[in-house]
Each structure stands twice: as C-alpha cells, then as structure tokens.
Amino acid sequence: MAVIEGRDIVKVYGSMKALDRVSLTVEAGDFYGFFGPNGAGKTTLIRILTGQLMPTSGTASVLGVDVVKEPMKAKELIGIVPEVESPPTYLTAYEYLYFVGKVRKVDRLEDRIGRWLDFFDLEEKKGTICKDMSKGMRQKLMLASAFLHDPKLLFLDEPFINLDPIYQRTLRDYLEEFVAKGGTVFMASHILEISERLCNKLSIVNLGRVVAQGQIDELLKDGENLERLFLRSVGIKASGGDAPRRTSSS
C-alpha cells in the first residue's frame, strides 16, 4: 500500500525551478532515502509532502490524504523533524512536549512525555529552556516531539545532524525497530554510511530532478556502495582517491 504518492511535483521560486516534475511512491514499511547535493531540492520536497509548502503544480498525498487540499489533516497523521532544529525559545523540554501533545490531543500524555524525555536523556536538563540548550539537545527534542504521538509515517530531514555517536546509534536502532513494526520513514540525509544501512529504497535528486530511483540493492552496481552510487548519479567521478571530480557530462 502506498503511504506517500507524489506525481509531477514542480516548485518554482521566482525564476528558479527547485523541483522539476518529481514523482515517487513510498510503500508502507519502506525506509526511503532521499539524497542529493546541497540545494538539490530535498528540503523543498519534504516541506511539500508534509503540507508546509504548496507546490507550483503536481499532486501529493500521504496516508491517503491530499496534502495540497488538506495539509492540516496530513500533519495530524505524520511526524516531522525539520532540517534546522527550531523549538520554541522559551519552553523547557517537558513544556514543549506537553505543548505538542496538547496540540495533537495525545492521550496518556504524561507517560509519553516521560518515555521520550528518558529515551533522549532530556531529564538531565529539565529546567533549561530551548534557547539555552545545545544544538544536540534541541535536535533530540525535535525528534521526541515528532515521535510523541506515535505516527505511522515519519519525515526526517537530516535527523542525525548534531547528535553524538551514542545517540546516532540509539536513533538508528529506534528507526530500524519502528520500520520493522510496520512504520514508514522518509529521510533526507547526507550521512550516507548510516543511510545505506537503514534504507531499502531511494531517490537521488540533482538540480531539482530525480536522477536515480528504486530499490537500493538493484541500483548498486558490482561492489558499489551508496556513496559511489550517489556520486555517479549526480555526475561526479570518484577517482579512487579522496577528491571526487565532476564528469564532463555534468
């Protein structure tokens, strides 16, 4: 069953085409990776699929809800972690989760808040308001707020950024378990080592266009890893040394 459907999505900012007829389908239980160089259109697509931004043209739905027509209904069903961690300045971690829980009408709220504060070790800095938190703490809080209402579908934009190796591992384990239990993850990330371990499908975009799409194991050529696939797809030739070179075709 498709939980995310995007058809011919176009997004134009002024004279710049950020997305050019992007189409994709994500099935329930997929861990879907969405990769591309900086400025390729990853965050724009996530924002469109989560009802935060209207596309210029094209259609998009999540969990059967048309995100263009009913963005609020879509947001009720999904969890979103944005690229830049930006929790409210003047709330503590507990208060932010309480706020999100009340907005989302989460039942057994206290239990759930306790669970996620404990999971991300946020109890330790209980009385700290968000503006005084480290970037890592804020990122953990954004993750906790996205998981709080037990959504079946998660949109994660660079979820591992700012996390220390311990919590990168913790999050990775949690996401694997989440997908194993039938959840679906749509993730944009530049950390290809972790992504390769987690994702079963992917799209690679470059300059707003999809340049590779499908099952990862089918896309990888002999002995190739995700990094090589990525570089090949966006037209960068890996020379075998440290410095990749852009091929003439790009």
Binding site: M72, K75, P87, T89, Y90, Y94, E95, R104, D132
Partner: protein, 481 residues
Amino acid sequence: MLREEFRTHSSYSGKSRFMSFPIFVFVMVFASGLTLDTMLVTIPLERFATFAHLGAFLYGLSVGAFGIMGREYLDRRYGRNNYLIAMPYLLPLSFRTTFLGIYLRDVVFYIVLMLVPATLGLVAAAPLMGFSLVSIGLLFVAMVLTFLVGMSLSFLASVVYIRNTRAFVAMTAAVAVLFLAHGAFGVPALEALMPGLGFQMSVRPFGHDTVAAYYYALGCVGISAVMTVLAYALVQVRISVQSKEHVDMLPSYYRRIRMSEGLGRTLMAKELLDLRRSGVVAKMFFAFVLPLLFLSFTTWYVNYGLAIPVGFNAVFYAAMVGFVAVMMYNWLNNVDLAEYYSLLPVTVPQLVRIRIAVFLILTVGISAFFVVAISILNGETELLWLALIVMFVTSLYMVVLTAYLTGLKTNSFLFDTSVLMKFTVLSFLPDLCLTILSFSLLAAWTYAVIGIALVLGSMAVTTRILYKGIETKWARTSFEA
C-alpha cells in the same frame, strides 16, 4: 549592512512593494505641499514646522530603540539567518563595534527611507507652489538634525535600560520633566530641547541668523555624538550564555485558562508563558504607556502651551488609546519565531486569533485605567461610560484590522505600500470621525452621541467582517519567516 537591511525588508513583501513605500511618502508629502496654502490660513507655518520636527524626533526615537535588546536583538531579529551584522560570533568584531554599525546603518537607511522622499515630495511641489528650493534643503538638514538627536537619545536610553532600570526611569523622567516644564512655563525653550528646530527657526523662511543656525547645528551634532559615544561605551556585552533554571509552568498556565479544552487554550497558555519568560511585557508596557503619556502631553501642550482652544475630552482620549494600543499587537508578533508551528496541525489564522485575545487581555486593563484616570483628572466622569465603550470598540477594531492586514508579520507588512495605504485609510477615517464627534459632545450632545454610536456600529460590523476574513486571507500562509 545597508544591502542586507534592504533585502530583509524587501524579502517580506517583495522588492517592488517595499520600494513603493518611499514613493508613497513622496506622493503624500507632494499632495500635502499642494494644499499647504489652504492649511496656512488656519495654522501658521511655524506650527507646521514644530509638528514636523516633533514627528522627526519621534521617528528617531522609534528607530534608535534597538539597544534595548542587546544580544537578544541580534538573536531574535535575525533568527536563523546569518547577517554581516551578526559577525561578532564569527569575526574579530566586538559587540560595541557591531552596535555602532547598526546605528550608522539605521541613520542612513531610515533617512533615505522617509526623510529623503518627503523632501523630494516638497521639491516636486515647489514649481507649482513657489517654494524656495534653498528653504526645502534647509528643512531637510533641520529634520535630519532633529532625527539624529531623537535617535541618539533613544539609543542611549535603551542601552541604559538594559544596564540599570532605575537610571532609565530617571533619564526618561528627566526628559519628560523638561518637556513638561516647557509646556507649563515656556522654559526651557523647545529649540533647546530640539536644537534642530532652533536651526530651522534661524534659517529661511523663518529667520536669517546664520551664526545661531551654525551653533544649533553644532549643538545637534555634538549632543548626538555625545549620546552615541555614551551608548557605545555602555552597550551591554553579553557574549556568555546565561543559562537559568526554570520550573515547568505550562501545565499550570493551561489549567488556569478558562477556555474549553482544545487548541485555543493550548496556544493561549504558551503565548502567555512566552510573554512572562521573554521579559517582553515590561518593554511592551513602556511601548504602550509612553505614547499615551506623550499623547496626553501633546494635547495638554496644544491647549495650554500653544493656547489653541481644542476640546480634548475623555472620549477623544479613549479613541486615541484604541489606536495607540495596536503597537502591542506588533510586539506580540516579535516575542519568538514561529517556524516550529509549521510542523504541527496549526494554521496562521488560529495563532492570529489567539494573539488578538492575548492583546485584549494585556491592554484592556491598562487602557481602561488610563481612560478612567483622564476622566477623573478632567472632571468628566459623566463621559466615562461613553469613553469606555469607545476605547473598547476602537481597540478591538484596530487590532483586528492590523491582524487582518498584516497577519503575524506586522512590522514588515506595514512597509508594504498597498498594506500601509489600506491601514492608513481604514484607521484614519474612523479616527477622524470620532475625533470630530468627540469635540462636538459639549455643543451638541445628542447628535454627537448618535454620530459616535453610528461610527462605533460601523466599526463593530467591519471588525466582524475582518475577523472572519482572517481565515481566508491567511489560511494558506506559511509560518516561516
């Protein structure tokens, strides 16, 4: 820095719309210039010059208040964007140098934004009305001098406020006493308080005292320089993060709000807690009360200082209170960035409506107190019932009008000419009607009350239409800056 400031403003409403703001100023001044002869029949040119300088002084005061926020100013204003001006974090630039940079940038930017197009408006009217270009040039210089004094005073006062609240109160009180003393006794002269006005009165078309003009100009520059240097030296440098422990209060705020369970109650609790934690309430209080005091002083000055018999009464003040209170709504939109709302099933209209409610909670008490106090001081308690109704209806009308036109970005959209024009017309018309009708209360009570009732009724109906319209106008808008 100037390019960044321009791009920041134009990013909100579009380059062409922002660029049309100075054109709007130009057209307004040009039109005023064409009607100046008619207006001079009732009001002498000196009075016009005085009011223009008071305006420039106030404009300077409002521009220079950025020092009040110290480091918070940079964090909140620029949020997640990196601006050259926020470089103390990255480059070997001190906060003091940065603040001096902001000061100099704002001097240039806001003179070009307002005073230059205003002057050009007069220049355009000159061939038709026979204005002297030299006089217009001298007027521009005088206005810049007054603007500089106002801006420097505000910059210094806001920096002092961060250092020591008592010193700030003393400083504000001293300035207020000087203006009050001028109003009551004519001493000190207004030219001493605003040397730019002194310069103005010493040159064409008011006088020909070049030496006095020279000294007044020197005085303005000297006073501005001294205040700026003092502010530069006193700027609070708060590079270290002062982490403070907080008790979780949101649940108790939520429980205390007497609203039905749901989104509105949650948003309201958070907004009120934000206000408490951010410390903005005290600043908002000053931003609200100071204009009220200034308004009282101005009307008192017109009545007694200039000896112009105008029938200011409690109903007039009540209408003005409603119009002044709208600044508080702007403050509410600047307490925190709202980007995280875009991750939740919350719409811009829902938050706008909650901020209107918070606005009313914050202002109705203070406004009512002011109106009651004015009624008692003026011996007009018989007008109190009417004044309170006028105050409430105008406050509600103004905040709903502002919310409808500007959503969550009041500060930015009021620089959009099309928005500004709508705002000007829709606020000026009822304001003018209420002012005229309030002046008629003593002479023709029944007709004035019926007139006021009709105006208030129209405002109430418009308020309802605009309040409903907030949904359709802002439903598809993003929370992002």
